[in-house]
């Protein structure tokens, strides 16, 4: 069990781990690119149009950033996504939020909303997910403190904001 004071991992880092470790490394070392890609502004647009009346962009401890929180019987953490392409990454990111909250004595469930697909996915944090997340955190910390992983070209690179950074030297 990792004490919650030394966990400095953010949700974005968990997400990037599943997308690309080069991206994870660059982001973690504050190597960011100047332009908001169209992807980003598209994402914003969805947020603004689909959930206008709910409170959005809730940031907790600079670790969690979710779109909104609902309270019925328990707490629901909602994250809005536009497609299921990065589903695994989205899922672990949200599970990590649940884990993070649990460390602080708050139990919650997660909901991934796909307004464009009119779909929802409900996530619960179980023991096996917790163990998996703890391993993940260790791996991320190790990765970030070693050399930058060499970029590997895949189809998703073309839409990545680091594309020119990674492959412009060839």
């Amino acid at each position: 069990m990792i004490s919650h004071t030394d966990v400095k991992v953010t949700g974005t880092q968990i997400n990037y781990y599943f997308i690309c470790t080069t991206k994870l490394w660059l982001f973690s070392h504050h190597i960011q690119m100047e332009k908001e890609s169209d992807e980003v502004s598209m994402g914003k647009h969805i947020h603004e149009t689909s959930y206008e009346r709910t409170k959005k962009n809730i940031i907790i401890d600079d670790v969690i950033a979710v779109d909104f929180i609902k309270k019925h019987d328990g707490i629901e953490i909602h994250d809005v996504k536009k497609s299921r392409k990065m589903e695994v990454a989205h899922r672990w990111q949200l599970l990590y939020y649940l884990y993070y909250l649990k460390q602080r004595g708050v139990s919650a469930i997660g909901v991934l909303d796909y307004p464009l697909l009119k779909k929802k996915e409900i996530l619960h944090l179980g023991d096996s997910e917790e163990r998996e997340l703890e391993k993940l955190i260790q791996e991320i910390l190790a990765l970030v403190s070693s050399q930058m992983p060499s970029p590997m070209k895949r189809p998703l690179c073309k839409k990545c904001s680091y594309y020119e950074f990674c492959f412009g030297g060839e």
Partner: protein, 329 residues
Amino acid sequence: MKTNYYITKDGVLRRKENTVYFIDKTEQRALPIQKIYAIYAYGNLSFTSGVVSYLAKNGVPIHFFNSYGFYEGSLYPRETLVSGDATIKQAEHYLDGERRSILAKLFVEGAAKNILRNLNYYSKDTNSLTSYIEKIEHELGQLPGYTTIPQIMSVEGHIRDFYYSALDCIFPAEFQIGERVKRPPNNKTNTLLSFGNSLMYATVLSEIYNTQLNPTISFLHEPFERRFSLSLDVAEIFKPIIVDRVIFKLINKNMLDETDFSGDIGNMLLSESGRKKFLQEYHERLSRTIEHKGLGREVSYQRLIRLELYKLVKHVLGTQKYKPLVMWW
């Protein structure tokens, strides 16, 4: 798409809502803020309040040049892409003599190879260049044996001397360089070179702003030479690709006449019409695109500068050794 604005006249910059206006006696020109990449000011430019901070907030640098076209200074917006790691690593590469000289040599090598590309292009028509090309290649061959910055700089100096002598073989008499004289330039081509090199410096600086690199930490040039000396280093690679080729075109196509210069031999400058012609060709060249193999898409020459800086970031971070851009087209 953002673009560079070149202001060759005296006037005022004023902000009205989301638009910046350039105003002078004869015109009022709108520069929408989302469109401005950088401003190059060649006249006396004054500002009404608010416009400077507005430009800075939007990450737009303004570069100032004097009547010779020499770079005077920039309003350089506060850096937003800061990475402590990258800065420390960049400084490490400066402080460690061996690592510094590796980079210094790579800048000289890249510049020399682009110079050779220019000369080889011309040597198709004339054999008189062959001996200069050989001399430059010989100098380049010496480079690996050198380790100190003065040695590396002297290779660079010799290569430039041979280069300009070679160009004198093909330029018409009116445009002979003779000796490279900078301050003030003493003849037409020296004037063009000074003008273009200052411009290149500012263009590279605008690109550095959009990366994590610190513009004050350089490798080939000494950091105290100019405030933003990293620009001098990287400009070496691009001068032959961009500035020199603009000058070749202006000269070879007979695009310049007496009215484009003012002042006397020994103290010559570009007139307003000369500046306009130069800036137009320069801008055209920066915007020109070529197919980039690694990216599988077209990139502009201006973008190539950014890519070069990304390569440097990767070099200092230790992920990929820097290899200077040599024209492949």
